[in-house]
């Protein structure tokens, strides 16, 4: 096996070419965005040499567009930049909060939503919020471009659906219309800078009478992958997102959870807390939707 190497290709095509030729020659590659997970892993878990392919310099991974129907978030945009964008924050407050929760000021200056997704941790904070928002991964590779819903992207602990010749360009998020609101909450034992014990993201749309017409719930850190919980969304649709409906959604989240016991929490605790988080995030999303 060869040595480490670093490349920052200038175009998407040359990036795909490099990833493809490396895959066929048996050279290991590591796509690099903000590096806040990758560099730590390079030093601790996996010290094996590889070709580091930096995709941060590409114009396409830095696109941030807020359209009538779609909000596009380039995969390599640092969380601090997203958080400083007032329009984006007002449209998707829950998603931006989920990114802002991750790490310190220093981490925020580098970490990206795309990287959080591609790291594919069960506890990745942005993933339940992306799922709740029906976000879609915009992937490019040797076979061209393809779109994959976020809930289908992560395939296991630290693994995802992308082939060696593919990388993530950005995320397509349906723009919130009418009375739509989102929220993400996680539980950690400290006030900040920790890994979620459990997390829940909720997005709801209400009609003029306050009745819920659409709802999606994503949960994290309670299964090998972040999960879409259709039963939780269904429990909110057709209701006023009141106490009873939120309790039903919470029960659906607890039922969908299949967590492990580790130093952060036990199976029983996580099952309970993920429901509580869904209920609280649902109430915040509802209030945000009403305030629109």
């Amino acid at each position: 096996m060869g040595d480490y190497a670093y490349a920052a290709p200038a175009t998407v095509d040359s990036t795909v070419e490099l990833l493809s030729s490396s895959a066929s020659s048996g050279t290991r590659t590591q796509v690099l965005a903000g590096g806040t997970d990758v560099l730590v892993q390079m030093r601790s878990i996996d010290r094996g040499p590889r070709l580091i392919v930096d995709v941060k310099q590409l114009a396409e991974t830095n696109v941030l567009s807020i359209g009538e129907d779609e909000i596009y978030i380039g995969a390599a945009i640092a969380s601090a930049i997203l958080n400083e964008n007032a329009e984006l924050k007002s449209k998707l407050p829950g998603l931006i909060e989920s990114a802002d929760l991750i790490g310190s000021t220093q981490i925020q200056g580098r970490a990206t939503i795309g990287g959080n997704l591609c790291n594919s941790s069960p506890a990745g904070d942005t993933i339940p919020a992306l799922i709740a928002n029906s976000a879609v991964c915009h992937i490019v590779g040797a076979d061209g471009e393809r779109d994959v819903p976020v809930e289908d992207f992560v395939t296991g602990v630290g693994t995802n659906c992308m082939a060696d010749h593919e990388f993530l360009l950005g995320l397509r998020v349906p723009a919130p219309k009418g009375n739509t609101g989102d929220a993400y909450l996680r539980f950690i034992p400290r006030t900040e800078m920790d890994i979620a014990v459990a997390g829940a993201g909720v997005r709801v749309t209400l009609d003029d009478s306050g009745t819920c017409t659409a709802a999606r719930v994503g949960i994290g850190a309670v299964a090998p992958t972040p999960l879409l919980v259709p039963e939780a969304g269904d429990a909110l649709i057709g209701t006023q997102v009141d106490e009873e409906a939120l309790n039903a959604a919470a029960a659906a989240c607890s039922a969908a959870a299949s967590p492990i016991t580790d130093k952060r929490g036990t199976v029983e605790y996580r099952i309970k807390v993920v429901g509580v988080l869904c209920k609280r995030a649902g109430a915040i999303a509802r209030d945000r939707a009403k305030a629109r």
């Binding site: 920052a8 730590v40 030093r43 800078m193």
Partner: protein, 159 residues
Amino acid sequence: MAKVHVSTTVNGQPMDVLVEPNDSLLDTLRDGLGLTGTKEGCATGDCGACSVMLDGRLVCSCLVLGAEAEGKTIDTIEGVADGDGLHVVQQKFLEHAALQCGICTPGFIVAAKALLERDPNPDETTIRYWLAGNLCRCTGYDKIVRAVQDAANELASPA
């Protein structure tokens, strides 16, 4: 291993350096450029001792590759003082005894300076959250927070 040639600007000076592809920016600053003011604490982005400004943004230099510095502007602790004149944040750290062993101090000063440039009048909560990624095992943080508050006051109305 093929070294990478990097052209970058450090504390206003254009610099050229050869780096190993897996060197961190911290390695490059300390071992490649001899700028040892930036410290290594944890090397996993938790402690903030290696804080530097990269294109005007506060980052942990242990979580950036040296190769990523190509074409970028880096500001380190060595560029904070103006010749022999200490920056007000440095002066206040001295006056408030906001350091003991000193390993975390360059990171705290770079981070606190970045905060005051964004928010000249931060409240205590803002200061504590902004500096939450800088760990100090000596002071208990209180003196550091007081030093930053006093630096903000000094900048608002110079004595």
